[in-house]
């Protein structure tokens, strides 16, 4: 290889190292870039000298062609400069214009580079093999060979790039790899704000490819997917709090505020700007999947369980704001997912069942609610034991349903069982006893056993006192006292208790008061139906 071509290749290598490998180390990057430019210039000068020194017309033509090809390679470098951030900012293009410019330049410079470099190497080889005399025809032919090879490569690179970006996959295996279901598609379609899935994995990772294939059908205006190497994107990784590869970060919202905060500030500039930044912050959830295939499989199974938990929590959130239909849907999804992932007898399957029952009870669908609670009770009894506290809560729920159905006797039996189990498991002074005690007092009152009812309410009050419970619990005890005292003929005492309950409810913060709106409504109804003495 001639010294000119060697200098050209060394210059290109220096530029590549400077731009791609030393990116972020400013001093070294500048040094490598300057060195690369000088080596390119030296290559051109050496070729020009060879051209001046050549006497044979064939050699002169060869060197002229080689110089032209070398300059074509240099033009590719100029086109590359057009894709750098510094140059882009000087153009002041809008987003669409910037995208078009970058798209054109990024496709153009490698093509120009290949069309310059490959024929240069071939022509240089031809000139070296005939250093004294070379027919012009041979120069033209070597140039043609080089150009054909370069054009072949030019065709192959974009073809592979496009095929990797627009990959189609057919899974013909007996055990097929899971693909997003209709529920997942619907979930993505229903997103109010687009989300970006960033898969931080080494590109050689098989897991990255599997995840890419999983997310591919979901990609669109509502969801975009990026596969990134954590080491190559330190700022972005820092902004999203991703510490290493093997993590999937799902972000909703504009991350520019996080990126600004992640970029280290120059000395003397505090981070006050970031603190006072009032731009909306994006929401990011991270999943540690692991870059190793077998470990990733295990991690993904855990994610299923986590999604089940999130759906259950989503249901609770909907319930708190009164969107019972949405809450019911979330609980049903959580139940189906947990049942599938954990198996029908896993104790976590009982939670959404109990929550579904709560909504049905609130709607007055008592038999359906009781059926769900009975299922949850059976699961908990199998998982934790007949007399476990987990089973006791289900007995208490069933008792409450029976009480609201107007069936105090079965309610009393269930509540008594629940209280005994809770006492055994948690002790006689536990807050978990309060609800069942008050419900039991109501059952006894409805059955006309006023002494028993009184003793249960007294015990409930002692509990509130001993545990220093809040206004909400105090209000519940006063409310129950009012009913019992009225039945005992103590109308004044009953009204006093009702007023104390009302006062306690009024002292609650707005949000908590909303949560007790049913109880408050019942209190008002009681006050209206029981004349003040």
């Amino acid at each position: 290889m001639s010294s000119s071509t060697l200098s050209y290749l060394a210059g290109m290598l220096a530029l590549f190292v400077g731009q791609r490998i030393l990116d972020g180390i400013d001093e070294w990057q500048t040094a490598a870039t300057v060195l690369g430019a000088l080596l390119l210039l030296a290559g051109a000068v050496l070729r020009f000298r060879s051209l001046r020194g050549a006497e044979d017309p064939g050699l002169r033509l060869g060197h002229r062609v080689a110089l032209l090809l070398l300059l074509t390679g240099a033009v590719a470098v100029v086109l590359y400069v057009g894709t750098t951030e510094r140059f882009m900012s000087s153009l002041s293009l809008d987003d669409q214009g910037e995208e078009r410019w970058l798209g054109s330049m990024r496709s153009l410079w490698p093509v120009v580079w290949l069309l310059g470099t490959i024929p240069l190497l071939v022509v240089d080889y031809g000139l070296r093999s005939s250093p004294v005399v070379i027919p012009k025809a041979r120069v033209r032919e070597t140039l043609a060979h080089g150009l054909v090879a370069a054009m072949g490569l030019c065709l192959v690179f974009p073809l592979n790039y496009v095929s990797s970006k627009r990959n189609e996959r057919w899974d013909l295996a007996y055990f097929k790899t899971p693909v997003p279901g209709t529920a997942t598609h619907a979930l993505v379609e229903a997103l109010e704000e687009p989300v970006t899935v960033r898969i931080f994995m080494p590109p050689s990772s098989e897991v990255a490819q599997e995840l890419r294939h999983y997310f591919a059908p979901l990609e669109g205006p509502k969801l975009s997917v990026e596969i990134l190497d954590q080491a190559a994107n330190p700022t972005l990784a820092k902004a999203l709090a991703v510490r290493d590869n093997g993590t999937v970060a799902i972000t909703q919202g504009d991350i520019s505020v996080l990126l600004d905060a992640a970029v280290p500030k120059p000395e003397g500039e505090g981070d006050g700007a970031a603190e006072s930044d009032d731009r909306p912050k994006p929401v990011t959830r991270r999943y540690r999947v692991n870059a190793d295939f077998e470990k990733a499989k295990r991690s993904l199974k855990k994610i299923d369980a986590e999604v089940g938990k999130m759906l259950n929590n989503q249901g609770l959130a909907y319930r708190a704001i009164g969107r019972d239909d949405d809450a019911l849907e979330s609980f049903e999804q959580a139940h189906a997912l947990r049942r599938r992932v954990l198996g029908p007898d896993h104790p976590d399957v009982a939670k959404p069942l109990a929550n579904i029952a709560t909504i049905l009870r609130a709607r007055g669908e008592y038999e359906d609610a009781a059926e769900y609670v009975a299922k949850a009770l059976a699961i908990r009894q199998r998982a934790h034991g007949e007399d476990s506290v987990e089973a006791a809560f289900m007995h208490a729920s069933l008792g409450l349903i029976r009480l609201e159905q107007g069936r105090p006797e079965p309610a009393r039996q269930r509540l008594t069982t629940a209280i005994l189990a809770i006492e055994q498991a948690l002790g006689a002074e536990d807050v978990a006893l309060l609800g069942p005690l008050l419900s039991l007092a109501e059952s006894e009152r409805q059955l006309g056993r006023l002494d028993d009812a009184t003793s249960h309410v007294e015990r409930a009050w002692a509990l509130v006192d001993a545990l220093k419970l809040g206004k909400a619990e105090q209000a519940q005890v006063h409310q129950r006292w009012a009913a019992v005292r009225w039945d005992r003929g103590d109308t004044v005492g009953a009204w006093t208790e009702a007023e104390l309950a009302q006062q306690a409810y009024e002292d609650l913060p707005d949000l908590e008061r909303d949560a007790h709106s049913d109880a408050i409504a019942r209190l008002h109804a009681w006050q209206q139906s029981h004349p003040e003495p």
Binding site: T142, W170, S204, E206
Partner: protein
């Protein structure tokens, strides 16, 4: 096309009129069969699909290795025996010459690959396997064969004797097979490029598991195309020396 077929027919005759083609096929089939019995079937119970995966895993290695002795003689032997000058002076374009030789080697590889069909067929007797999985695996093997045969053709075109051709082709193939290892230690963007070049890790694994990816099909065909392009250009340029 006629010239290419003429060369291909001549080369095929050369493979099967000598011991060489038969010996290579027999040795590779023996190794494949032993590995199938010892490794894929094994003595532990496993899913049929896993047996097929294991079969395609080592068949990949056997195909890659087989392509080297099959292609090393294509041009290097002509140069060694002095018959290259006849080809140079024949009324054939370089593409016809390279294409014909490549086609003959690829047909031998196809025969070798398809001779292993009895092994997955055995799995049907006692297990359940998807036809699609077997089709995908064989498609992958044929694509790998087309790429490695292309590389072998290039190795043979640039070498003066068969041993050197074998070594050059082996080094090139080794690079493509092990580039995933280099990707693990390299920094971006080299890492991305090396990772994409990996024959097995990035491209063949999908076929092995019964999945057909268009990007892998395009990739293997691209490697074959580039190798043949470089071979034809090299042979054309060589005529001036």
């Amino acid at each position: 096309m006629r010239g290419m077929m003429l060369v291909a027919r001549r080369e095929l005759a050369a493979y099967f009129n000598s011991y060489w083609g038969w010996v290579v096929i027999a040795v590779i089939l023996l190794i494949d069969g032993l590995l199938f019995n010892a490794w894929a079937m094994g003595d532990q119970p496993k899913y049929s699909s896993k047996v097929i995966e294991d079969f395609f895993f080592f068949s990949f290695g056997c195909t890659v290795i087989a392509s080297l002795p099959i292609t090393m003689r294509l041009f290097a032997e002509e140069k060694q025996t002095g018959t290259m000058v006849l080809l140079d002076s024949a009324p054939l374009s370089r593409w016809q010459l390279v294409g014909g030789k490549y086609l003959s080697a690829l047909l031998v590889m196809a025969l070798l690959v398809l001779s292993t069909l009895y092994m997955p067929a055995l799995v049907f007797i006692n297990g359940k396997v998807s036809y699609g999985h077997i089709f995908a695996g064989y498609l992958g093997l044929m694509l790998v064969a087309s790429a490695t045969t292309g590389i072998g053709t290039l190795g043979s075109a640039v070498s003066r004797n068969q041993i050197v051709a074998f070594i050059i082709s082996a080094l090139l193939v080794l690079f493509f097979v092990l580039s995933w290892l280099l990707a693990k230690v390299a920094d971006p963007p080299l890492k991305d490029i090396l990772s994409y070049l990996s024959f097995f890790d990035r491209h063949f694994r999908g076929f092995m598991e019964g999945k057909i990816n268009t990007e892998s099909v395009v990739y293997f065909l691209s490697v074959a195309f580039v190798a043949l392009l470089c071979s034809s250009r090299y042979l054309a340029a060589r005529r001036w020396r």
